[in-house]
């Protein structure tokens, strides 16, 4: 495993700042070009870059602090990650009924099955320094798949509302009336994971493997471990997407088998949590 500095005065951290400055300069070029081309994306590009840096740095500090805390805290942290990932993900399906609740359940299920299995198999060490970053990576990738499922599902229902209702009006059970569009949402959401698997090692040389090789690990072991990671991402994404789609297919209809209107819902994290608990 790559050593993580636990003090901000560590010379490695100071050297890292120079590298951060270089990466920031490159990002600034992108922002400047977008500004010159009047793409009106400076705020979004710049904002996401700064936000990403602050978040990842905070995570580094937090993980450094977590080395001293008991193992059970990693479960709490992963649960918090699932909630925040679900909160971000639900925006992709804004208006989809119960998008937040569905995302929490699917992400928790998809990620936990994979994390528990891989801990049992010994692929993830039972230490905070392993569980939190690897678990976070699995949750983040499951979130991407979940977001794509929600986004596609919302789009499919919006474009095919008349087709779905025409079939409902024939006495077809709701899950069957919408199944074609649910399948399409799952298929679309898994395209990036499937493509990454297909091109693994040929086009796509993932970050973790590169990092391990740069850190001096045996390249064959790095490849093996990268495959394990990809397998975990694949499994978590697949489980998450399929759970989400199953729950979406139910949530889209009322008890009287009527297709619900997809209306934008609560927009604050606190309000969403409160609404989810109330239900």
């Amino acid at each position: 495993m790559i050593a993580v500095p636990d003090r901000v005065t560590d010379p490695v951290v100071v050297r890292g700042l120079v590298q951060v400055a270089a990466a920031t300069a490159l990002a600034a070029v992108v922002v400047a070009v977008s500004s010159l081309r009047n793409l009106d994306l400076e705020r979004e590009l710049g904002g996401s870059f700064v936000r990403g840096f602050v978040q990842v740095l905070a995570m580094g500090v937090l993980i450094g602090a977590l080395f001293a805390v008991p193992l059970s805290y990693s479960a709490l942290l992963l649960a918090a990650m699932v909630c925040y990932a679900a909160w971000e993900s639900r925006k992709r399906g804004d208006g989809v009924p119960n998008a937040f609740r569905i995302s929490v359940v699917s992400l928790a299920l998809g990620s936990s099955v994979v994390i528990v299995t891989m801990v049992a198999a010994g692929a993830i060490e039972q230490t905070v320094r392993n569980l939190v970053p690897v678990g976070g990576m699995i949750i983040a990738n499951a979130m991407k798949t979940n977001s794509l499922t929600l986004d596609r599902f919302q789009g499919e229902v919006a474009s095919n509302r008349a087709e779905i209702e025409a079939v409902l009006a024939l006495g077809v059970p709701p899950e069957r009336a919408i199944s074609e569009f649910v399948t399409e949402s799952v298929r679309a959401s898994l395209i990036p994971v499937v493509d990454a698997m297909r091109t693994l090692g040929l086009v796509y040389i993932p970050g973790m493997m590169s990092g391990m090789i740069l850190g001096g690990a045996n390249p064959i072991y790095a490849a093996e471990y990268q495959f394990v990671i990809m397998g975990m991402i694949f499994a978590a994404g697949g489980l998450t997407s399929m759970t989400t789609s199953l729950l979406l297919a139910r949530s889209a209809f009322t008890d009287a088998a009527q297709l619900r209107a997809f209306e934008p819902t609560e927009t604050t994290l606190l309000g969403t949590l409160r609404a989810a608990v109330k239900r």
């Binding site: 209702e165 009006a169 024939l170 006495g171 077809v172 009527q258």
Partner: protein, 222 residues
């Protein structure tokens, strides 16, 4: 004998009243046309009768049974709605005509498909792709798709609204044949009063979410 009865149906969306206490009884074998201007609530009434939307107040009785006590799938098999837009799915005419039974896990005999298509004037169209159909042909497929369930009640929402006069006349002839047997009860929503007079036994006029007049075509339509 009353087949379908709307009892004080109310429907509100975001505080706007779409239907304001609509009551209408339709006898078995009867065709009732619902006429009125755009936005009067005609299509909303049909959606409520098929329980695609939930009434804010009132209910509907099918053969004397409150439709809320029926399983929605059973209700919709017995009360079939032909939507204004055919809303066909990608695929062949056969796949669309049989989609109801198929998605319920039932099979439809080839002879039955041929019979349904012959009834709507599309004999030999079974293997055509629906993207190759004209507007009138697509509407016929939508009618056959609903009739494939052999519903007791047929709800027709502006079946000729987007068609040219030739296709409109053909669909009217088809509906006349379908409804002539007297075995099927039908509610036809149309903005075309002459069409209502040609096809219906009775006409109900809707305005501002209420039925303001109901009776024989010559009494309601001036």
């Amino acid at each position: 004998m009353t087949k379908l009865r709307a009892d004080e149906l109310r429907y509100e969306v975001d505080g706007d009243t779409i239907l304001d206490g609509v009551s209408l009884a339709v006898d078995a074998g009867e065709t009732v046309a619902v006429v009125g201007p755009s936005g009067a609530g005609k299509s909303s009434l049909l959606r409520l009768l098929d329980r695609l939307d939930e009434p804010t107040g009132g209910t509907v009785y099918l053969d004397g049974t409150d439709y809320r006590s029926l399983d929605p799938e059973t209700l919709r098999k017995r009360v079939g709605l032909v939507p204004q837009q055919p809303a066909l799915r990608d695929g062949t005419v056969r796949e669309n005509v049989t989609i109801g039974p198929r998605l319920r896990g039932e099979s439809v005999a080839t002879e039955r498909v041929a019979e349904l298509l012959a009834d709507v004037g599309l004999a030999g169209y079974a293997d055509r792709d629906v993207s190759d159909l004209s507007g009138g042909e697509a509407q016929r497929v939508a009618i056959a798709r609903t009739v494939a369930n052999d519903p007791d009640v047929l709800l027709l929402d502006e079946p000729t609204a987007s068609l040219d006069s030739e296709a409109e006349a053909a669909i009217e002839r088809l509906l006349t044949d379908l409804l002539a047997t007297g075995e099927r009860t039908a509610i036809l929503v149309t903005h075309d009063e002459r069409q209502a007079a040609r096809l219906a036994d009775r006409v109900a006029r809707v305005a501002d979410g209420r039925i303001v007049d109901v009776g024989a075509p010559r009494e309601v339509i001036a």
